[in-house]
């Protein structure tokens, strides 16, 4: 057997393997994040943290739909400041922590970034792509100029690498990715959920209290893969793939499309916390069977094929 390495380097952040939980999936609780790490993830991502505590939307906040899950949690979080101790506690156990966050204004983004940077987060993930909250909070990332500005403001105050997480609900994700890169993004996370909704025929009303929600899980996969492809073609910085990844084959496909690492969320529902180890082991087997020595060896290979 060759010297096979599963570790990856994303903009200077070195991880034991290329899997993480997706932001907002379990990340509101430090003990659950620890369990994610023990389940085999290379790093953990927090719930998106804002400047103030938020309860999020009232239930129903989730419903299963064809091929996936719709959620409209509405960014519940105890506030970035409150969560600093959780970040510190996780890091004290040797767990790399990526702090996801959002704001209602550029100043917010800068302030929260500064706070989380000082808290020692190993990387920051800027959420400009939540479909479930008011425009000013969620979808700043639908617009190139805003994306660039937010990224630049965050970069100004951040010590660790800054990932910008993009939405698939845009006409041209490559343009937005370029804007984030221009703003100084160290990596792009693609993607957040697709905006969808569910209606109940018996009650003749939308099921989610927030009316619309974000589609995650398998139904999102082919769109997310295309987004990673488009973004990887457009930017030089690493891409982190996210959206509907359920098994190692999915993860490999995202890597072949150009992802250096992957975030896995909804799959936890059916595969449990072991999904991270399952995926990592599967990637290892794939690299070995195909004669690659590292994860890096397959990143973007499908781009080269055409």
């Amino acid at each position: 057997m060759s010297q096979l390495s599963l570790s990856v380097d994303i903009a200077g952040l070195r991880l034991r393997n290329p899997t993480m939980n997706a932001a907002g999936v379990l990340g509101i609780s430090a003990p659950l994040l620890k369990r994610v790490y023990e389940g085999g993830a290379g790093a953990v991502v927090t719930k998106s943290l804002g400047p103030e505590p938020r309860s999020g939307h009232l239930n129903p906040t989730m419903v299963i739909v064809e091929g996936g899950v719709l959620n409209a949690m509405g960014l519940p979080n105890p506030g970035a400041e409150y969560f600093v101790s959780a970040i510190k506690a996780l890091r004290a156990e040797g767990i790399p922590v990526i702090a996801s966050f959002f704001g209602a204004s550029i100043d917010d983004f800068r302030d929260v970034a500064e706070l989380l940077s000082e808290a020692g987060a190993d990387a920051l993930e800027v959420n400009v792509s939540c479909p479930n909250v008011q425009e000013e909070l969620g979808m700043l990332g639908a617009d190139c100029l805003n994306t660039e500005k937010v990224t630049a403001a965050v970069k100004e105050v951040s010590k660790p690498p800054v990932f910008v997480k993009l939405s698939p609900n845009v006409t041209d994700i490559a343009e937005i990715a370029k804007a984030a890169e221009l703003g100084g993004a160290d990596a792009i996370t693609a993607v957040n959920t697709l905006k969808g909704m569910a209606i109940d025929a018996d009650f003749r009303r939308p099921i989610l209290t927030n009316v619309t929600g974000g589609l995650s899980g398998p139904a999102l996969k082919s769109v997310a893969l295309r987004c990673v492809w488009d973004v990887a073609k457009a930017v030089e910085v690493p891409v982190i793939g996210c959206g509907g990844i359920t098994n190692w084959r999915d993860a490999v496909e995202f890597m072949l499309a150009g992802a250096s690492a992957v975030e896995v969320g909804t799959a936890i529902r059916e595969r449990g916390f072991g999904v991270y180890e399952e995926i990592t082991t599967g990637i290892e087997g794939y690299l070995e069977a195909n004669g690659f020595g590292s994860v890096k060896g397959i990143v973007g290979l499908a781009q080269e094929a055409i």
Partner: protein
Amino acid sequence: MMRTAVITRVLRMAPDMVTLYFEDEECSKASPGQYAMIWIPGGEEIPMSLSTINPGGESSLTVRDVGEATKTLCDMKEGDKVGIRGPFGIGYTITGDSPLLVAGGTGVASLAPLAEAFVERGVKPTFILGAKTESDLAFRDRLENLLGDSVVLATDDGSCGFEGFSSQCAEKLMDERSFDAVYTCGPELMMVAVFDEAESRGIPVQASLERYIKCAHGLCGSCAIGPYRVCMDGPVFDSEKLREVREDFGSRKMDPTGKIVGVDH
């Protein structure tokens, strides 16, 4: 997916508690201790234990009016409809030849189907049915028909049966007889007392916990207790897990923002 359940009958259990019956194939196949998410269209969606599980037949919820959603449920009439998801979670594991079931308040909801499951397997459990006062004792007939004098009543005010909390009653019974398994559902502080008591005697416990349930699919983390999710790793926790979360059990929970707050009942 969201389903629709039509209320087929309503039974008033106590001044502030009703049982709503409905037919739903999925729920009729649930195991004792599992819960469903009940959606009041136009209102909220909340977790409710299944208080009747009847393979091929009726299921039920037993609801105490403590706020807006539960009040709406308590006012429902035959023919009214709710949305339903589930059943969710891990229920009770049936084990033991001389089990003690300790219910406080609406805790009887999940323990009544458990008692029936025991009897079906030829085991007659001892059932402590506790409440504030006599008129709050839910499912008394159902349990007495099932278990006869193995039902031990307890009321805080002593209006009926043992005077005191279910947990105190449990302590007394554990002194008097030997049990090989303890099951409990009710106010968390009561369950903590039962757990500690059983621990000191080396009896395994299964307790049904409550935390704030949002997604019910193990994804959002809102229901965390230690490294577990009440919605999917629970709601029933065994002694091993209870020991692991002992710092939080009876002491700390997250509010809907994720802030940690105290547990006060």
